[in-house]
Symmetry: C2
Subunit: 523 residues, 2 copies
């Protein structure tokens, strides 16, 4: 009896996934351990795998296999999971077949080179060292969007713009218009909130009431690492399938159906940075661990994947902000931070209320990843505007640092000290990732809406955290969010789980309530 | 103008090397960081790469390319480097083309499974958990030797035995007869030396003279790691192209032309183990770093590779034993170990002479990697005998632990406490590596002969070490040994550099002199 085309297709996508996860290991190693002199060879390794992956994902043999599998399926509604799996494979195939293999290889090389030059440029706060690589990446991405134009259509069949096309892998079905609508209330409201709340009292030396600033206090590296491990332990970290390592830019990645990796890093003068980054990345990983991968085979199909980066970020931000920066959680962890410190320095860490305030500084700063919930989304709005200007407008690469700084002052009232604190701070553009940033803001909006839905069922989140029932929150997400995989889009997930469309209202309302509570304690 | 076949061949072997080094990264990660639950998927990734590598190394297209390049070269003596490059590629091609791809894939899977089961079995000291995997690996390796039989010929065209065939990748041109001849003096002389010197005084508690035993003293992990880093620093470790990490079994690997990795690990109760393992692995890495790879392109050709594992081991053993266990080196490092220790425990570390003795315990033990120079080669003789019995004799896998213990008592007078201390102690068989162990013993012999040649030119090694001129020794190796690559075999290298054939005399003579000096200090 002939093997079903669907089975042969399964073997094909499984091998593609094996190659993709090998690519993931090389990326992981590059960002955690690889010595800098290894970059050139690593770039060639990544380019080789990228070529192979592209070949597998666009070959005639694969196209025939997919067509045969499609023909085998009985006609059914698009809600049938196999129909959905094949439709998602079909969409990706059409994209891959538009791309010139030479472009794919050139991009992989440019990404490796861009990353290496960005590291150098950032360490020297010298944008000019990175600018040519960024220019090349923009040129290649524009070419990519041009090659994809014939298969990229939004609602009603309207063509997608360059930026929209590049954003599809991260945020399927997103449009500039939809983002403009979602971001408008943030653009309008957040500067007002910064005006009203964003001037948390100036630090008082010696840990005086309310004005205490943790940034002056050194929390030694090993102590921070210990607290991070303690946090993960408490949240069910299982060393038989998960790894925590260090990298310059924290990230989370899945290297196999039972191989979950996250990284964190200690930032001098930022005693909570590693702790909150660990919470953030673990949130990503919990989502990955909860995706509907019942066995290795399923791991390879689209439905076993995350549905969008916005939903992914909602999971990380939930654990970083809704949990990690909450008052109840701060009250539980303050004694542990206090205990971990040398006696000499510990005096200032004695007050749980101050500790909570220190986790929520309410002072807009230049760095996105160090930002709290008040100004975070404005960092994203800025990047969204600049990506549009670089890819679809007329902003020359050389003018990026100046334009970045101008917008920082306009939106956040902050002027970066140098390019390392400005347009060189993020890793994304060094790898030519355009269209990714908005997902972070969507994550904040989705997390707020999910939290409302969660509270309707489980009661106040802070009440659970106060009694150490963090697992109740995790389990709610495991039941309602994680197993959906790519069976629904991000927006459809919000509708289904929260009973209302994606909207910034829940986020702004949560934020204002929290800011009121924080401000009530100001001197 | 048509591209030269040699250039096209260069592109081909370069891509093969890219794939091979990707395989290397997966192996590195598996042994340093991968969570245990990742083993199954990793096994499939490795099997996929093994299939691809085999395909590239045995395809008709590659065979035609090689033949075309051979035809292009002018007739020349075999000393022409390009002739030698192509001859080595030809030999490997003939081997690969004999192998059934199904066997290659089965071996890769069995190796991954074997490694995982070995880890489990060793942690529980339960050989029965590993036995079936070992049996499968032996079956597959026998089949491999059978498939290779038609292209494996030793001197005078005589066919190679199963074990000899499997040993070729590690020790080209080796034969059982040659090894028997080289090992005979070791079999004869070492037990006598153990009888005479191998009873270093029983430990005296509290650090009394001569009988002091370091194993009772705990040297905390971070202190040991710090000393290892200090050692590497002093030996020119360059973090821009090298990495030190931890793994259960120390190893060294090269992941790119400028990407050198070594691992070490702290063994409880063995304060010098991590230090000496670091010296050992760094010796391997120095050899790799000194190979004739003038650029990335050269990295892919056979002449850019190490010539044999015996020569490789001679480089690691030189730094571990000739340097690390020498009296002059001990005198330099004793104050640093002393200083690194907490005051309470340090008393016993005050005497440089005792410190040197502690580095050379002269008490045969059960564990090969913890063994000193006196009994090390007997550990190898034992493994050589057992491999022959398993692969060519009639030793059933189930009887391996008993036979191992019987030989340990016979050769070394030591009875392992359990299988973890017995036949499960080494990683090699878990991956089906048979034929590798003799290279360790050859490494001792070669290191001794190279040291004699070195001393003829640079004067006594200990005099250089006493004045901190370690770099003089390294540079001598960099000039005389490392750049030879595969232009000569291991035996030819010894002849060329030392002016005499490979022979155990230098090693035995070095050993007896050292033992006399050590024994002179006995109470």
């Amino acid at each position: 009896m002939a093997t079903l085309a669907l089975e042969r297709l399964g073997a094909h996508v499984r091998q593609t996934r094996l190659l993709g996860s090998i690519h993931g290991i090389l990326y992981w190693d590059q960002n955690t351990l690889m010595p800098s002199a290894g970059a050139a060879w690593r770039g060639e390794q990544l380019a080789l795998l990228a070529r192979q992956l592209h070949e597998r994902q666009s070959s005639d043999a694969y196209a025939e296999l997919l067509a045969a599998a499609e023909a085998e399926l009985p006609p059914a509604g698009s809600s049938d999971p196999w129909q959905r799996n094949l439709a998602l494979l079909r969409q990706e195939l059409e994209r891959q077949r538009q791309l010139d293999p030479a472009l794919v290889a050139a991009l992989a090389l440019a990404q490796a080179r861009g990353y290496a030059l960005w590291q150098e440029a950032r360490s020297q706060a010298d944008f000019s060292r990175f600018a040519p690589a960024l220019g090349e990446l923009i040129t290649l991405r524009k070419e990519q969007a041009r090659q994809l134009a014939s298969v990229e259509h939004g609602q009603g069949g309207s063509p997608r713009s360059c930026w929209e096309t590049l954003a599809q892998p991260f945020e399927p079905e997103i449009s500039k218009a939809r983002l403009a609508a979602l971001f408008a209330p943030l653009r309008q409201r957040l500067p007002t909130l910064i005006e009203r709340y964003g001037r948390s009292p100036a630090p008082a030396s010696g840990g005086g009431h309310a004005g205490w600033d943790p940034t002056g206090l050194a929390l030694p590296d090993p102590v921070q690492q210990q607290l991070c491990r303690q946090l993960l332990q408490e949240w069910g970290f299982d060393a038989s399938c998960a790894v925590l390592a260090c990298s310059p830019h924290p990230f989370s990645t899945t290297l196999g159906p039972s191989d979950f990796r996250i990284t964190s890093r200690v930032v001098p003068g930022q005693p909570f940075s590693a702790f909150l980054a660990t919470a953030h990345e673990w949130g990503h990983s919990l989502y990955e661990q909860g995706l509907p991968r019942h066995d290795h085979q399923w791991f390879a199909w689209p439905l076993g994947e995350a549905t969008s980066m916005g939903v992914h970020e909602s999971q990380s931000l939930f654990w970083e902000c809704r949990v990690g920066r909450s008052e109840a959680f701060a009250r539980r962890w303050q004694p542990r931070f206090r205990q971990a410190l040398a006696e000499s320095a510990a005096g200032a860490w004695d007050d749980p209320d101050q500790f909570w305030r220190a986790l929520n500084p309410r002072r807009p700063g230049a760095i996105r990843v160090e930002s709290d919930e008040l100004s975070y989304c404005l960092h994203i709005v800025l990047r969204f505007d600049l990506e549009l200007a670089l890819l679809e407008g007329d902003l020359p690469v050389e003018e990026l640092p100046a334009e970045w700084n101008r917008l920082m002052v306009e939106l956040l009232g902050v002027r970066p000290a140098d390019a390392a604190e400005g347009c060189l701070q993020d890793v994304h553009w060094s790898e030519g990732l355009f269209g990714y940033f908005p997902s972070y803001a969507l994550g904040h909006l989705i997390a707020a809406q999910l939290a409302e839905a969660m509270e309707r069922e489980t009661g106040p989140i802070e009440a659970r955290l106060a009694t150490g029932e963090d697992a109740v929150l995790r389990d709610w997400l495991r039941v309602h969010v994680h197993p959906l995989g790519r069976s629904v889009t991000g927006e459809a997930l919000v509708e289904r789980v929260c009973g209302a469309p994606l909207d910034p209202t829940a986020f702004l309302s949560y934020l204002e309530t929290k800011l009121d509570r924080l401000a009530a304690g100001d001197p």
